[in-house]
């Protein structure tokens, strides 16, 4: 007797699950390293379609440019052999100065600069301090 309501509940849940999965594919943001951005086919696709994506790389401290109104930060993101200029507008996380690897979120402008509106600092493991007398921890990224 109550079966019809249970079936109804299951059907509604399945429908919602399907909606979730579809929304997921609609909202997902691909995530590349600087090197992959140059070579990966999906990256090229995302770039051409102007979709937002996230790129991870190391900050070239020499290229850091904080001029302007203090709201804009320019730097180069480097990989093993790739290099990508980034322009970021927004507040900079505290840990940026110590971070080696950062992730930026945004779009690739036509001329090749990455226009970022999000800046994430990663590798909290790097903040596990090294005790005196011990060898530095092997800082591999997640």
């Amino acid at each position: 007797m109550g079966l019809r309501y249970l079936v109804g509940a299951v059907v509604i849940l399945c429908a919602f699950a399907a909606i979730s999965v579809l929304t997921y594919y609609d909202s997902e943001e691909a995530y590349f390293t600087v090197d992959e951005l140059a070579t990966d086919a999906r990256a090229a696709e995302a770039r051409d379609e102007g979709r937002t994506l996230q790129v991870r790389g190391e900050v070239d401290r020499a290229s850091l440019d904080r001029s302007g109104d203090g709201l804009e930060l320019r730097f180069d993101l480097v990989g093993l052999d790739g290099r990508m200029p980034v322009v970021y507008r927004g507040l900079v996380p505290d840990t940026f100065d110590q971070a080696e690897t950062v992730t930026v979120g945004g779009r690739v402008a036509p001329e090749g600069t990455f226009v970022a509106d999000r800046l994430f600092v990663q590798c909290p493991s790097k903040y596990e301090a090294v005790p005196p007398g011990a060898a530095p921890a092997d800082g591999t990224d997640a």
């Binding site: 109550g2 249970l6 849940l13 979730s20 909202s27 203090g70 011990a134």
Partner: protein
């Protein structure tokens, strides 16, 4: 002394293994002695864990920097209170804390329910011993807080400055209490499955544990949100961060469970579902803690990379497989009582709807948090989803839940007379409509916001109406006002405590709607310059510096004015803690007004000119979020308070439902 700590851990692990073995054997051979031995072993393991954690705490207070953990997470200048919080500030310590809490809860439950639920206790002991043994073993050999350094440093590394905040002192313990507390309902369910005692006895035994664990989870989540807002400085309180989600998922399952057990208690339905739900909740706890620690996701919470990943994976798999097999085996015993959901206008249907909504939310959050990991493992492609995904899916379900809160409590078991429902809801509906009109007149045009706030008003008034009806009923019998209110809550704590919890959730929902109207602006200001946002004028007066023994700070003095009237000053600052000179912390400054917050953050600054880059954000209705959380927790306190009369009524009901006699009265 550290050796003592490590020894205690090893012994504790051994005792857990012993407890599991003895209890299991005792259960199978019906040997009271073996079962009693298993119980003693688990209690002894708890004593060992207590010793281990005591050693860690003492080492922290004695500044024993020969221990890597103490060196890494404290220093000579760490304030005394935070030395205690350093116990759980790092990976190893937090795992030890977790193990200790699990054992403490298991032992408490064991002692309290030994006689009342005698049939369940052997397998309860086995389950607890296996779970706690895993964690203890992990701490003893893989994530050892008692590891020694080669030489003795003069001073420690210091506690992460982000953790030196009162909210951070209580956020992890509250969450851990919630997580580990869910071990008891889980273990009781496993015990019920293993022993075949699948009447509602295990539910009755676990009810208060589930409620208290759920309350602690809620408090933990609330504190985390408050800390994120007050300290992290991005202007929000929930970021759909993978680790936030890792704590939210068990909470969603536990909330669904809290509701659906009421249907089993009252009408013997949803029995299979309840067992599945509690297993799901605890599995999510383990998955959540795995996610947070194994370096799979990077977030503000992530602990250091460590080797515990594979062990966790193995344990979670074993847990899930074992539970599923047990359920499968006992399927015939998990038949529902005759009857079923008879009509849509019934409390059972409302609870069914409630569960559908919570599981829907759980799926959405689960998918968004974990699918990226799975897909990366499978295809190598890395993807991520952000707040837009989560908000798009979760908000509508949240709205539906608020709407359900208005109607559900008014429905009767089995069926409801439509007229009585209509009568109860007319006034709230009309008032909600009136409030909508008022909002429109006040200039609110956002359709989603109007619908959401109208629903909140509707649900709020319907709930208050129910409480009022109860009070009036008592008044008619001649009771004075204050007495009527107090007695109403005291006599029916679960029902009316639940109403208060719902009111809290409604307030929270209204606060969340405020996110639709957030306004923010960023500018670089010289001293004397101002910026305007949402009717406020923020004037920068200059930079000020301050020097305390353990922290130096630089702040921007901001004056907040509205309509020419000075409302207050804000001083968003950049702090540098001694010992962590390389990790400056930017803290926001918040002006909390009744209906909105003015939130300021300082980015770049120039000490020579006094210029500062300021970001100001106006957060409407955010007070609703905090007050909602407070009311929520208050309601839980009311609901959870031991209530003799209610328990007696419930026991009679359970007996009638085919639970037969309570376990203690059954012949062995």
């Amino acid at each position: 002394m550290a050796e003592l700590g490590h020894l205690a851990l090893a012994l504790g692990f051994g005792l857990c293994v012993l407890a599991a073995g003895a209890s299991a054997l005792g259960a199978r051979t019906a040997s009271g002695e073996l079962v009693a031995a298993g119980r003693r072993a688990l209690l002894a393991a708890t004593a060992m864990a207590t010793l281990a954690i005591a050693v860690l705490v003492v080492s922290l207070y004695r500044h024993d920097f020969t221990l890597t953990y103490v060196w890494r997470n404290s220093s000579r200048t760490t304030p005394l209170g935070y030395l205690l919080t350093a116990t759980w500030g790092g990976q190893e310590g937090s795992l030890l804390f977790w193990s200790w809490l699990s054992l403490a809860f298991a032992s408490t439950a064991l002692l309290r329910r030994w006689r009342a639920d005698a049939a369940l206790m052997p397998w309860f002991t086995v389950t607890c011993a296996l779970v706690c043994g895993f964690f203890l073993g992990l701490v003893a050999w893989v994530a050892n807080p008692f590891e020694r350094l080669a030489l003795l440093p003069a001073d420690g590394n210091g506690l992460n400055p982000l953790l030196q905040h009162p909210g951070m002192a209580f956020h992890p313990p509250a969450l851990y209490l919630g997580f580990t507390g869910l071990l008891v309902p889980f273990a009781l369910a496993i015990a019920a499955l293993a022993s075949g005692r699948l009447d509602a006895g295990w539910i009755r035994a676990s009810r208060r544990w589930t409620l208290v664990a759920w309350a602690m989870l809620t408090i933990g989540l609330a504190l985390g949100a408050r800390w994120a807002y007050d300290v992290l400085g991005w202007g929000g309180y929930w970021g759909w961060d993978p680790v936030e989600n890792a704590a939210l998922m068990p909470w969603l399952a536990a909330t669904a469970f809290l509701h659906s057990v009421m249907v089993e208690e009252r009408r013997g339905m949803f029995r299979l579902w309840n067992v599945v739900l509690v297993i799901l909740a605890f599995t999510l706890v383990v998955v959540g803690t795995f996610l947070t620690r194994a370096g799979l996701v990077s977030s503000v919470h992530a602990f250091a990379q460590s080797d515990i990943g594979p062990y966790f994976l193995g344990f979670t798999t074993a847990l899930l497989l074992g539970s599923i097999l047990l359920v499968w085996w006992r399927l015939p015993l998990l038949r529902d009582a005759p009857g079923g959901v008879e009509t849509v206008l019934s409390r059972e249907a409302a609870f069914l709807g409630n569960n559908v909504l919570f599981i829907g939310m759980l799926f959405a959050v689960f998918w968004g948090t974990l699918f990226p990991l799975f897909s990366e493992l499978a295809t190598g492609d890395r993807v991520t989803v952000g707040p837009p995904y989560f908000n798009r899916l979760v908000m509508p379900l949240g709205w539906a839940l608020v709407a359900l809160m208005a109607i559900g409590p008014l429905l009767g078991w089995r069926q409801t007379a439509p007229q009585s429902l209509r009568q109860a809801l007319v006034a709230p509906a009309v008032s909600a409509l009136g409030i909508t009109v008022a909002l429109l007149l006040a200039g609110v045009r956002h359709p989603v916001a109007l619908v959401a706030l109208a629903t909140c008003a509707f649900a709020l008034l319907a709930t208050i109406g129910e409480i009022a009806r109860g009070v009036f009923a008592r008044r008619r019998r001649g009771e004075a006002w204050p007495l009527a209110i107090v007695r109403l809550f005291a006599r029916s704590r679960r029902r009316y405590g639940g109403f208060v919890v719902h009111i809290g959730v409604i307030l929270l929902a209204a606060g969340v709607v405020g996110n639709l109207f957030v306004a923010s602006i960023e500018a670089r200001l010289m001293p004397g310059e101002a910026l305007d946002v949402s009717g406020y004028r923020i004037t920068h007066r200059g930079l000020t510096m301050s020097d305390a023994p353990d922290v130096r700070s630089l702040a921007a003095e901001l004056e907040v004015a509205r309509g020419g009237r000075l409302l207050g000053t804000l001083a968003p600052a950049r702090m540098v803690f001694r010992q962590r000179e390389d990790q400056p912390v930017t803290t926001p400054a918040i002006l909390r007004r009744a209906h909105e917050d003015v939130y300021a953050l300082m980015g770049a600054f120039d000490v020579d000119t006094g210029a500062a880059t300021i970001k100001v954000q106006v957060n409407p209705l955010v007070g609703g979020v905090w007050w909602g959380m407070v009311v929520l927790v208050l309601g839980t306190l009311i609901a959870a308070w031991p209530d003799g009369a209610e328990r007696r009524v419930l026991d009679v009901e359970l007996r009638r439902l085919g639970g037969g006699l309570p376990a203690r009265a059954r012949p062995r």
